[in-house]
Symmetry: D2
Subunit: 247 residues, 4 copies
């Protein structure tokens, strides 16, 4: 079986400047996320980060990526226009995109949503409980009815997104808020999944359920068979019922 | 009753350079579209065009517009970045947007969809028959089961859009194609309607059914009561269950 | 302006046998719900109850009802087959249906959903906080970002419904659960809204926000203009392109 | 790899009484449909028909069926209530259901849709051209942009279904009509696909593209991993935040 090629993209800035972050993720958050996926034999995983040339997302990398995961926070504005456009175009062609936590404000996500992607938030020691609201969905496979993260940042509604094509998780927070925390969209031939958890000061990406969700999402978002779809991009198309059209 | 303020935006270039167009729309397509709406007492209609300062879409105009209609074709690239962003932002705040025909490739539409919005096409004397596939939808009110346009440009599938939140019309063409020709989406608090017909060399915007659809769509897309919605844009939000959250 | 004819249907059994219920709703829950709607001038409101002949839903009543609200709990099984079918048929023709609280297990709701409509529940003194997740929706008009009910029964996910066409509210409960508490669907030409709150021992239907939601929903669910839609019910239909089809 | 167990259900009445049908499908339509699936190694295929005991759908058969395909026409009314309920319940538990052609009026399909499922139709020698409107969908994999059936019965809009969760095909007919001919819904943990072609007097189920669609749909509709989902069916559920709830 051909592996699913996953590229784990990380901003990788907090880890170099905030001890509270490097204590939790000494090799970088992207490495921890990648390790979670590497536990599954069907994935071939590599990483890319903001400060590499072309943010690590050269044409060669993007064109051989089946699923791209994206975590960014403090430096969304440093992501280049042309890379944002290339990521969007690859999604339209079929590449999967998994956007994590503060990536709700990342440029590729906003580009693909067409909305402002704003939300309510609070950095405090909330508990988050994620409820499965779509138990037949591939991304919920193998999960219990709900699972908990003992400490997380709070994100609350209203979340400024287009209504998800498929809603998989809704979160409950100790502080009294709710959030649509697992959301699916289709854009062109590609799939997009937003998954809420993952504040940089908490060990969220070591959590077994979180890792299972990301793996499920990577499997769901991977392009399947190559479609024979061809787009008549280079000009007008001839009528199929030739005797019926003049001009 | 307060009127619904509609601004009819037209590129207004073909009409100045192509006799085949000015023969059909001597005052400009935007004027004909505006006249169609003015027949209904609930609308207060004005027009704006590309070559006016700020494309006629100053802050004063946009902020007092309930519904914006958009027809453009040969000069999509001349629409300024900042105006595109302002239109998108106004939609998120609740302004309705009705995108007509070749506006499928306009910058505001692509900005709000997050897809490439490509399609199959042919300039020929096809007949278009628009079928109502959602007869309970407000935009279909007062229409027969289908209606016809004796001559139109053909647009065919695959149309590169996010799946519409509500699909109202599907078109049949003599040449053998089909098209999702009336599509609704929600973006933030605003509504977007794409309506296919309206090639510049045909008298489509004089057609009674086309005018009824545009009027229905303007009524549907108009913001209703002002919501009390407030966005905690300026910083974190306090917990509602204060005794449960620390940090 | 023609009024919107609302028929408030109540099971009206608990109120006769449970003092805890009649203490809160001495005239019956349906009367309290009706009074909430009567405060708005656009509604013409009447009531109907299970133990009336034909459950109060004669052809004359149903055919002159624009929006039907439904509260039932202990006697879902006593609702007659033929009345369930008539309600479903009227929805397909355009009548709005607002299903309240324990009506999630009512026969008309299950008939229109095609799912089992099961959920998680607990009768305890939970607090419910309803978050608006769709602030541009007509049913959310005039509401704050969230509102609270100090005591309610808990309903939790997974809620066995088809994914709502439009999700308006998500509830947070003190006990740790979440629930999709305001859900819209379209069935034929009619609209269906499910609204969670309303356990019979709490004064929920006196609450100002709850009353506003039910009134907003009745306005949203009311049929608009009569469509010219005609269904070729009595046999095959002739081709529109007669020279192209043989046989 | 565990096979996908497909049960092909056929009404199998026309074939015994109409020579025009038995000429095309001498062993029965269900056998031809089954043979199309048997060409793919991942399916374990069996058949069941109306006039077998329990319509061939005993508990043993249903409980071991991953995907059920359904073709019926002249005898919808002969399908037993209890079998309809069992099929619906199995779908809610995760079984896939593929409904073919005149099965739009079958009892299991109407049960799961909650609408009247009516449509416009004509028995004539129309040509049908099926356009892919969702090229990234698993059911469209390996198909060209469109494919044709040289002779078919016409089905036209309005089709009285809930808006599909995913729309895959739209058909064009020579006579001038369009139809949403490939539609997906989710009901509980199960998936439902409606596929239009297949009038009993045409050799549609021998067509290579039709067979590919049915095989793609069976793969799509098959349940994936067993979810750990448990429903608190037998009574109330305890609060997760025990110190916060009284009563």
């Amino acid at each position: 079986m051909k592996p699913i090629n996953v590229t784990v993209w990380g901003e990788y800035r907090h880890e170099k400047t905030h001890k509270a972050v490097s204590d939790v993720y000494p090799k970088g958050m992207h490495v921890t996320i990648a390790e979670g996926l590497q536990a599954y034999p069907e994935f071939a995983v590599r990483t890319a980060t903001l400060d590499e040339p072309e943010h690590g997302l050269t044409d060669a990398v993007l064109n051989s990526t089946d699923v791209l995961t994206w975590w960014g926070h403090m430096a969304h504005g440093d992501v280049r226009d042309d890379i944002v456009e290339k990521v969007a175009k690859r999604v339209w062609e079929g590449m999967g995109l998994i956007v994590l936590h503060s990536g709700h404000f990342s440029r590729p996500f906003k580009r693909l949503m067409g909305t402002d992607c704003s939300l309510r938030w609070r950095e405090a020691h909330d508990k988050e409980r994620l409820w499965v609201v779509n138990p037949g969905h591939p991304i919920a496979q193998g999960l219990p009815d709900f699972f908990e993260l003992p400490e997380e940042e709070m994100y609350g509604e209203y979340f400024g997104i287009p209504q998800p094509d498929e809603l998989v998780f809704v979160s409950w927070f100790t502080g009294g808020e709710v959030f649509r925390s697992g959301c699916c969209w289709h854009r062109g031939m590609g799939k997009v999944f937003y998954f809420r958890p993952g504040h940089e000061t908490y060990p969220t990406y070591y959590d077994e359920n979180v890792r299972k969700v990301i793996a499920n999402a990577a499997r769901w978002a991977a392009p399947t068979l190559v479609s024979q779809f061809t787009r008549s991009a280079n000009g007008p198309t001839a009528p199929l019922e030739r005797d019926r059209v003049t001009g």
